[in-house]
Symmetry: C2
Subunit: 430 residues, 2 copies
């Protein structure tokens, strides 16, 4: 049986989860993987801090070089978070010839291309299963089990916080602010919720998923990113009435060699498997040209699910140590950079809610403006009567974003239109 | 780049799917796996038969030894189906030092223990991802990505035919016979549907899943197996009313070192992710002690999804050729055979529908018989009035099968009870 010594950089929730899992499942690791995983050293900021797990102080160090330069350590696990320091640690570890495992999605979204290239040049493996969708082994599936496929579409609920908020809004009819407060009280959302609710976290993950799945380096800035702050109980009610669930989706599609990459709240057909993914759960839906539709569902965060993914990487790295294929997990393909469409070029369905003065002819005027711009409508809902301002809701068939935006700019100018209250993209089943 | 030469034993739907996928996705295989997969030789029964795919006759042979004894072929793929012949081919290929890939679930359920042992002793790899849930890479996930977990529960919709039939019955209110006929007309069910509708196919797959997941050799005969023929529109109506979906589930649970293994129609809470798996789709739900709940969803059959799994195995075998860990996919663990509970010992919830004469006191008499046997009830539905015979429906909390069966035997004797119309097991969310 093989012994593998690892060093942990950071000992927060995930680091402690790795420690607990190694203790709890040592027999399983030995049996399943033929590996005896030993945590040799742990980098902490504060030696004396009282944690849920308090290893003997001989395990702890405040000097990263005690891990990075330790000849006996084969795999360095980066769990400090943040960008600059984490990047510096990983680079040093790679230079020293260590295999590296990280759960740091922001780092990979911003610097994954150079880091995976560095690892490849140095002949070591860099793995990051835990960076996307926590415990769900989606990256491993894409790069190993599904290798015989061309991936055509990736669609994910990859942020648990926003999924929890949208689930609460849908079930209870409460506002975004109320649901956010509840998520914060339950520990699902941070005091500063920007990274989650504005979609950046999901966009980081889509950057990684798309680069790996479509084999084309993606820059984080190229991913269209829109959060869920504008979602209202009114719109969610319409979604239900029209047969949709509301999800923050990270969507990547390859069409004729070009990529569409976008994160935004989405009305998704209630019969789509993603529609049933609720609370803080994550799921990634994939279409491969051989395998067809697949979905992977599970916990996107938490100490133990994330530790499961980190340890999966450690096992995989150890198994491949003598015959590595570092190229398998690279995030850049300089010779094969696919064009990434601007949002104007993308195509999807749209839900548009106008507020209009209830006057004769306004529905006809708006509907024909859609028609003139080549946007075909699949549903219209007009409600309320006699009130000063009434909602007028349209669902379009799949159409180009630019055509929809142009139409809205024209409709906005109508005297009878008091407000373009919301625009939400729609994934209907074909 | 590495070249891998494979031989196909059999050229039906799946064999032709492998051929098509290798042609269609050659670039992806080279890029993703660094592998140039070449199909060298194909065993057919009839050289002249006109197929959807007709390779040059130089690829075809009617002599299995042309493949098994060909020194240049590294991997033999068994797709002939059946038991004896397939087993003979695999044994011969293993003896010759070939790695082997198969999609043959019946063969593995009945002889997987000896075959994986033979492969391990000979130092070759035996893989069978396509044998369970078609294109869904569930076995690979269990044995690789989730290696750091102890698997506690496996629950799967692993037979597309029965899932299609139950979906149609639920949506349209039609009878089992009508839905079966429809499935046969659509090509989802065989002319002789026994293997599917009586649960044997699902039990084969559970034998494989449980052996691998719980690391304990399971004999096919030890899996309790009950099909869906007794399912009626009436019971499905009650399921909906009570908040359940109806699925044929293959369930494996480890409790205190003992295994519970059963295939039967199940009322599953409509909020469970498996409840949303419809039509011919498959899904496997897993609970690991670190990762928590995971679900994998996709196509369980079909030429291309199955080919995707077969090729995933081929890639994996090739990658591990120089450093194989054949033990990883064994199906027997003679030193670690866990006790498998009889059905009497298992515990779950129950739906029981009695037909009774509408006379005073009958509900009370039945309910107290449950109570006397320690079976606690969670719901009761009494309907109809004045008719000769009315339904009386009970849902129990989780309880021992033996206690429920004993109760039913007692109740059956009551004068007022005309029939025990159905008993269906229930998976409620805890």
């Amino acid at each position: 049986m093989e012994k593998v010594k690892i060093g942990l950089l950071g000992f927060g929730t995930v680091g402690q989860g790795v420690w607990k899992t190694v203790r709890m499942n040592r027999d399983d690791l030995i049996h399943n993987a033929g590996l005896d995983v030993e945590i040799s050293k742990i980098l902490v900021r504060d030696m004396g801090k009282d944690r849920e797990i308090n290893p003997d102080s001989s395990f702890l160090t405040t000097n990263p070089l005690d891990i990075i330069e330790d000849e006996s350590i084969q795999i360095v696990v980066e769990l400090v978070g943040g960008i600059e320091e984490a990047k510096d640690f990983l680079e040093k570890a790679i230079e020293k010839g260590k295999h590296v495992v990280t759960a740091n999605k922001a780092l990979l979204a911003l610097h994954g291309k150079e880091l995976t290239e560095k690892a490849e040049k140095r002949g070591v493996q860099l793995r990051y299963e835990a960076s996307v969708a926590g415990g769900i082994p989606i990256l491993h599936a894409i790069r190993e089990s599904l290798s015989a496929n061309r991936i055509e579409k990736i669609m994910g609920i990859v942020n648990g916080t926003t999924n929890y908020i949208l689930t609460r809004m849908s079930r209870e009819g409460i506002s975004f602010d109320e649901a956010l407060k509840e998520a914060q009280n339950k520990g699902y959302a941070e005091a500063d919720p920007t990274a989650d609710v504005d979609g950046f976290d999901a966009a980081h993950k889509l950057t990684i998923l798309a680069s790996l799945g479509f084999k084309s380096g993606v820059d984080f800035e190229q991913v269209y990113c829109e959060g869920i702050r504008r979602m209202t109980p009114t719109d969610i009610e319409y979604a239900k009435e029209l047969g949709f669930a509301v999800k923050l989706l990270a969507i990547g599609t390859e069409r004729e060699g070009k990529l569409e990459l976008r994160v935004h709240p989405t009305f998704i057909d209630e019969d789509h498997p993603l529609a049933a993914v609720n609370d803080a759960f994550n799921a990634v839906f994939i279409e491969g040209n051989a395998v067809g539709e697949l979905m992977f569902y599970g916990k996107g965060a938490g100490d133990m699910p994330t530790a499961s993914a980190v340890l999966g990487d450690i096992i995989n790295v150890s198994r491949n140590q003598h015959h590595p294929n570092p190229q398998a997990y690279r995030l850049d393909f300089p010779k094969n950079r696919k064009h990434i469409m601007s949002m104007e070029e993308t195509q999807t369905g749209y839900y548009i809610r106008f507020m209009v003065k209830d006057s004769p002819g306004v529905l006809g005027e708006i509907a024909s403006t859609f028609g003139k711009n080549g946007v075909s409508l699949s549903s219209v809902i007009q409600k309320g009567e006699g009130e000063e301002s009434v909602p007028l809701v349209f669902i379009t068939h799949k159409t180009r974003e630019s055509a929809v935006q142009k139409t809205i700019r024209q409709i906005q100018k109508f005297d009878a239109v008091t407000e373009v209250a919301n625009l939400i993209r729609v994934e209907a089943l074909s």
